[in-house]
């Protein structure tokens, strides 16, 4: 059976084969993850469609077109009960097992972490002893680092771009900063003063879209602030109830999704988009919720969010987070969307201007909740406050509309009872 890069979405034509979890010759079981592929939108695992012995034809780190065959599974040897997962777990140590080259405890640990067996490494020490340097140079060989990363080429030193992105060309368990251990500063595995890595397709796509959003829209931001007193007390009051009935405490996000939808109903242009010189009105509310993943921010979409109950919204968001973690997010989860919400508050942001996600016309930015003095009934009182930011496309939404929309969202959050009675 051939292993092919599957169709993952309408606009995706190529993918980066980021990492093979198995080696050629390994026995694989049906539904076992074989490799990780990265497209310009998401990262996902490719599972085996059959059991058998794997033969890899495209090495990791290669960018291939959708539909390309990247390997074979020989099913004729399926069912053979060989625990062929050679990569994992070198058997619980037995002194006799490692009769050959002596190793130090730290070298043994790194070998296990990197799935390398002692006979793969040529030891440079006395009697073939494997040093950490030997091991790390073997690992860098395995992961095929681009040469630029190893030495700092003099010509490029002047380029003032501090390219230190979380995504490396090949997704490996160990970040490449680990390589040089020639220094005596004990466990610091730091490389030179600069490193250069090509952008991953996902990061490239993010970069292009962000610049496009800035250049092709008339983006403007308006601010307001919300008083979370009532939302907080509702949440703590029904926390137990929700935990018992739905297995999770009620989050903050569902309130904002609800508030946004109610406000969108009153200001339909905020839910609209521009196509050429036409304005498209959406009679549905697909709300994108920005979630930070390991490889960048993704914005999965809650379909028909107006029909979801609070706990359903909460659960849907939790499901998305889980999918992102396990590389199971589908392109379909990201497409469409009529309005987005981004919560910089989870990282502690006090105030920021969110950026549009075209062709959407507006995005709401949530921020950290902070106890602040505010005036209520001529008294200075302490309230849990949050700044709200609405970035909008001024081409289609007027200032008055944007401000009023945001005021409406604020009112719903200040007084969630109204929201609950309506929703």
């Amino acid at each position: 059976m051939e292993i092919k890069i599957p169709e993952v979405g309408e606009s995706v034509r190529e993918a980066l084969l980021a990492k093979w979890f198995k080696k050629s010759g390994d026995t694989v079981k049906r539904d076992e993850p074989l490799c990780e592929i990265e497209t310009d939108k998401i990262t996902l695992d490719l599972n085996a469609d059959a059991s058998g012995v794997l033969a890899i034809s495209v090495t990791e780190g290669t960018t291939v077109a959708v539909g390309t065959t990247i390997g074979q599974i020989d099913e004729s040897v399926a069912g053979v009960e060989t625990p062929a997962v050679a990569v994992v777990e070198p058997e619980p140590p037995k002194a006799e097992k490692r009769a050959d080259a002596p190793t130090s405890p730290s070298v043994r640990r790194e070998m296990r972490e990197n799935g390398i067996s002692p006979d793969e490494v040529a030891g440079s020490g006395k009697e073939g002893r494997i040093s950490l340097d030997d091991l790390f140079s073997r690992i860098s060989e395995k992961t095929k680092m681009p040469p630029a990363a190893k030495t700092a080429p003099t010509a490029e030193v002047a380029v003032p771009i501090p390219v230190v992105l979380p995504s490396t060309p090949v997704v490996i368990a160990k970040p490449p900063e680990k390589f040089s251990v020639h220094t005596e500063e004990a466990p610091v595995y730091s490389a030179g003063r600069m490193e250069r890595h090509p952008m991953s397709p996902l990061r490239k796509r993010i970069a292009e879209r962000l610049v496009a959003a800035r250049q092709q829209t008339a983006m403007l931001t308006t601010f307001n602030e919300a008083d979370l007193t009532h939302v907080k007390s509702l949440r703590s009051k029904y926390r137990e109830h929700f935990l018992q009935r739905h297995g999770m405490a009620l989050g903050l996000m569902p309130f904002f999704v609800k508030a946004v939808i109610e406000a969108l109903k009153e200001f339909p242009l905020v839910n609209a988009s521009i196509d050429d010189y036409d304005i498209i009105h959406h009679h549905y509310y697909d709300i994108g919720v920005a979630i930070g993943g390991e490889k960048g921010l993704v914005v999965p979409v809650l379909r028909n969010a107006d029909r979801l109950k609070l706990y359903e919204i909460d659960r849907a968001i939790a499901d998305f987070s889980e999918k992102i973690k396990t590389n199971h997010l589908a392109i379909a989860d990201l497409e469409g969307g009529t309005f987005s919400i981004s919560n910089g508050g989870v990282y502690g942001s006090m105030l920021s201007t969110p950026i549009l996600n075209p062709p959407q016309s507006a995005v709401l930015g949530m921020h950290a909740i902070q106890d602040r003095p505010v005036v209520r009934d001529d008294q200075i009182v302490i309230r849990p406050m949050m700044y709200l930011a609405l970035s909008y496309d001024h081409r289609i939404i007027d200032g008055r509309e944007a401000v009023n929309f945001l005021k409406k969202v604020k009112e719903y959050i200040d007084d969630p009872e109204e929201l609950l009675l309506e929703g």
């Binding site: 140590p93 002194a95 490692r98 002596p102 190793t103 130090s104 297995g247």
Partner: protein, 472 residues
């Protein structure tokens, strides 16, 4: 009833549990630690390793002052024992160290709950619930995807002879006698029995060790065990090997111990009988039976290589699982267990765990014994060096014992090191490091050792593997 949610609940704050809890915090988990005692540290800190070493050190000084000072040309009046003060110092040492652990737990933001823990099984959300009956008589419920059992062990009893804490006692009480017993009988010739027997012998008690097996410390290298046996007998400890204790008769403040050394029933009078025949995993009251967690025939929790029990999400380490019942083994397992939870490929390298008997001379070992090598047919060479030939040992007047190194006959890889002698507990560290680095006897021999130190004995023993020792 409120439920507090964590990433990991550790039950038992002994050397396994508290170390695991701190490591888990370092790895970013939210950790609850449940301990039934008022102080953390478990048996090790409260009534084991630490208080016994405090008494061993105090009693050693006492016996030095009494027996050895004249040899060094120091004349003093015979030293007087103030047992209460000695005990107070011991208590103080324990208090300082348990305070230290409390501080560490606080510093690392481990949530400590004092009370008895009972596993309640998974809740609807799939988290394991643990009910903690707090010291305040309240009950609180904790929940986490993972629970680590580190409840340790308790002293095993002699069949038909229950401990009463007065005449028949366990190690815990034997660390706090109010006066020196006239005659202390120790049932069990293991580490604990020999250490506590030594304490009371040095302080003046008549001590008789009764061991069921025909030899002491059966898992120790025979030459080492024999050397230790001779030393202890020279100090006046009496031994009855191959002896079965059948019963105890009470006679006012004394006990008549009935035993059989293979020559028929005998009786002997004593005022304390210390039962130190071994330890049993402490699993009762945790609710393991209800959840169907599998135990082996010796009551230990059956775990896989992740230290996970037969019930997903429930883990166990230390004295609860097979392997030597040692504090440092439990700590190792604690660290490795939580590191594996965090996806790291940590393992405990059991063959490199040292074992130490803190008598005087001390006995320390790492790796294989000569008997094990013979049994498995591994070709080996043995090198040995006696402390009596070592300058520093002479200066200290501590000339008993030796260092013995067992190395592979072909590769020269060191397979086992056995030390009986002064500060063997500290000397063994070099050997443990060397074994971990998979070094050879030649590696030790090529390493310069400072003169005059006890560590030179290791080098000479290493040279002796190839019969190239300089000072023999």
């Amino acid at each position: 009833m409120s439920e507090q949610i964590f990433d990991l609940i550790v039950i038992g704050a002994g050397p396994g549990g508290y170390v695991a809890a701190i490591r888990a915090r370092q790895l970013g988990m939210r950790v609850a630690l449940v301990e039934k005692r008022a102080t953390p540290g478990g048996v090790c800190l409260n009534e084991g390793c630490i208080p016994s070493k405090a008494l061993l050190d105090s009693s050693e000084l006492f016996s030095l002052a009494r027996d050895k000072f004249p040899l060094h040309g120091i004349r003093i009046d015979p030293p007087q024992l103030d047992l209460a003060a000695m005990m107070l110092r011991k208590t103080d040492v324990v208090a300082k160290l348990t305070d230290g652990v409390t501080y560490l737990l606080k510093k690392n933001k481990v949530d400590l709950f004092q009370g008895d823990a009972v596993l309640k099984g998974p809740n609807p959300a799939g988290l394991h619930e643990v009910a903690v009956h707090l010291i305040t008589a309240d009950t609180t419920v904790l929940a986490a995807p993972r629970v680590l059992l580190a409840t340790g062990s308790h002293a095993a009893g002699l069949p038909g002879i229950p401990c009463d804490g007065q005449l028949v006692v366990t190690a815990c009480e034997a660390l706090s006698f109010e006066r020196v017993p006239d005659h202390l009988i120790v049932a069990g010739g293991g580490y604990i029995g020999l250490e506590l027997g030594s304490v009371w012998r040095r302080l003046g008690a008549q001590v008789t060790v009764m061991e069921m097996l025909p030899q002491l410390l059966p898992s120790m290298d025979r030459q080492a065990a024999d050397a230790l046996y001779r030393s202890l007998r020279k100090q006046g400890i009496q031994f009855k090997l191959g002896t079965h204790i059948s019963g105890v008769r009470r006679l006012e403040a004394a006990a008549i111990v009935q035993f059989d050394s293979g020559t028929g029933a005998e009786e002997i009078e004593c005022d304390k009988l210390l039962v130190a025949i071994g330890r049993q995993p402490l699993t009762s009251g945790l609710g393991l039976e209800v959840l169907g967690i599998r135990l082996d025939e010796r009551g230990r929790v059956v775990v896989d290589e992740d230290y996970q029990s037969s019930l997903h999400g429930i883990f166990a380490i230390g004295d609860l699982v097979p392997g030597p019942m040692l504090a440092h083994k439990a700590s190792e397992e604690g660290v490795v267990c939580v590191e594996r939870m965090a996806g790291k490929r940590a393992v405990v390298e059991y063959e490199y765990i040292p074992g130490i008997c803190y008598t005087w001379p001390e006995a320390a070992a790492v790796g294989k014994t000569e008997e094990q090598l013979k049994q498995t047919g591994i070709p080996y060479r043995s090198g040995r060096f006696n402390f009596s030939a070592l300058g520093r040992a002479r200066c200290m007047d501590e000339t008993e014992g030796f260092v013995k190194i067992l190395a592979h006959a072909e590769s020269d890889r060191v397979l086992g090191v056995h030390i009986v002698g002064p500060r063997a507990s500290d000397l063994i560290a070099e050997a443990v490091t060397l074994l971990n680095f998979e070094g050879t006897a030649r590696d030790i021999a090529l390493t310069c050792h400072a003169h005059p130190t006890l560590s030179e004995a290791l080098r000479e023993a290493a040279l002796d593997v190839r019969k190239e020792a300089i000072h023999v």
